[in-house]
Symmetry: C2
Subunit: 148 residues, 2 copies
Amino acid sequence: MREFTIGELSRLTQVNIETIRYYEKIGIMPNPPRNSSGYRVYSAPYFERLSFVRRSRELGFSQPEVRKLLTLVDEHKYTCAEVREMTVMHLSTVRSKIKDLRKLEKVLANMVSECDGGDIPDCPIVDILSAVPDADRKKPTTTGQPFS
Amino acid sequence: MREFTIGELSRLTQVNIETIRYYEKIGIMPNPPRNSSGYRVYSAPYFERLSFVRRSRELGFSQPEVRKLLTLVDEHKYTCAEVREMTVMHLSTVRSKIKDLRKLEKVLANMVSECDGGDIPDCPIVDILSAVPDADRKKPTTTGQPFS
DNA sequence: GCTTGAGTCTGTAGCGACTACAGGCTTTAT
DNA sequence: ATAAAGCCTGTAGTCGCTACAGACTCAAGC
C-alpha cells in the first residue's frame, strides 16, 4: 500500500501541514504510525479521511459538525436520515447568513451612493456610522464627532 | 455634562462591558478618566465614539478597518474619498462572500435533494463528502470509507 | 451601623480554526 | 561532505470577543 509523508499528504489533500498536525491533536485525525525516526507515516485511509474533513470544512461544517459526521461514518451505523438532517440544518444557517449579508450589502451600497467622494472632510458615510444605537434614540447632549 | 459608569455606557450603546474594556486595552477606545475609587467615568464623546465603533462592527468592518476609520475621523483630515474607498472595498468583500455562500447553498441543496433520508447506512451525502480534493484527481489505491 | 446585593476593578484563560514561528533532528541531493 | 529541504515538538499569535476569579466599592434596606 502506498505510504505518504506528512508533506505528501499535505500536497495531495491541499491541507496545510500544521493543520494536519492540529487535526491530530484535537482528535479529528487519528495518530498515524511513525517510522524509526519519528516521522508520521500515512496511508490511503488517512488520505481519504482527511479529504472528507477538508471537503466538509470547505462546505462550512463546523468542527463539532465534522466530528459528528466522522463519528457517524466511523461507527458504520449512521443513517442517511441523520446525515441529511445535519446537512439541512447547515443549509438553513448558510441561507440565513446570505440573508444577513444581503441586508448589509444594501446598507453599504446606499452609503456609497450617498457619498460624492469629494476631497473635503465632510462625508455622509461618517454621519451614518456615527448614528446612535437603536436601543436608545435619545440624543446625548453634544452632537459633535467623537473625539474630533 | 452627563457622566456614565461603564454599565450605563454598556446599556446605552448595547456594547458588552467586557467588550468596552477590551476596546480600551487594544486602543480603539481611549482611556477614560477615573473617579476616586478607580471606576471609569464616561461622557458624551465616549458614548459617540463607541456608537461609531459599534455601528462599524455591525456593518462588518474589521478591527483594522475600524481603526482606520477612527483615525481618519480623529485626525479631522479624512476626506470623503478615503472613507468612500474603504466602504467600497468592504462592499466588494461582502459581495464575494455572498457569492461564495450561494455556491455553497447550491451544493448543499443538491446534496439534500439526492438523499432520500432512509434508515440504512448508505448515504449519497457521505459519498459526496468523501470525494477526493480537486488538486489530485488520481484515485488512491483503495476506495473504501475512511477508517470505517 | 451592618448587611446584602449589585456594580466595578484587574488579570487571565478560553473559544474556533487555524497559522507561524523557534530550535532541533533526519533525509536527500549534489 | 555539506547544504537544502523536510520533519519533529512545543508555544504563541491571530480576530473579536466572552467568561471567569477574586477583590473592592457603592446604594439601599433594616
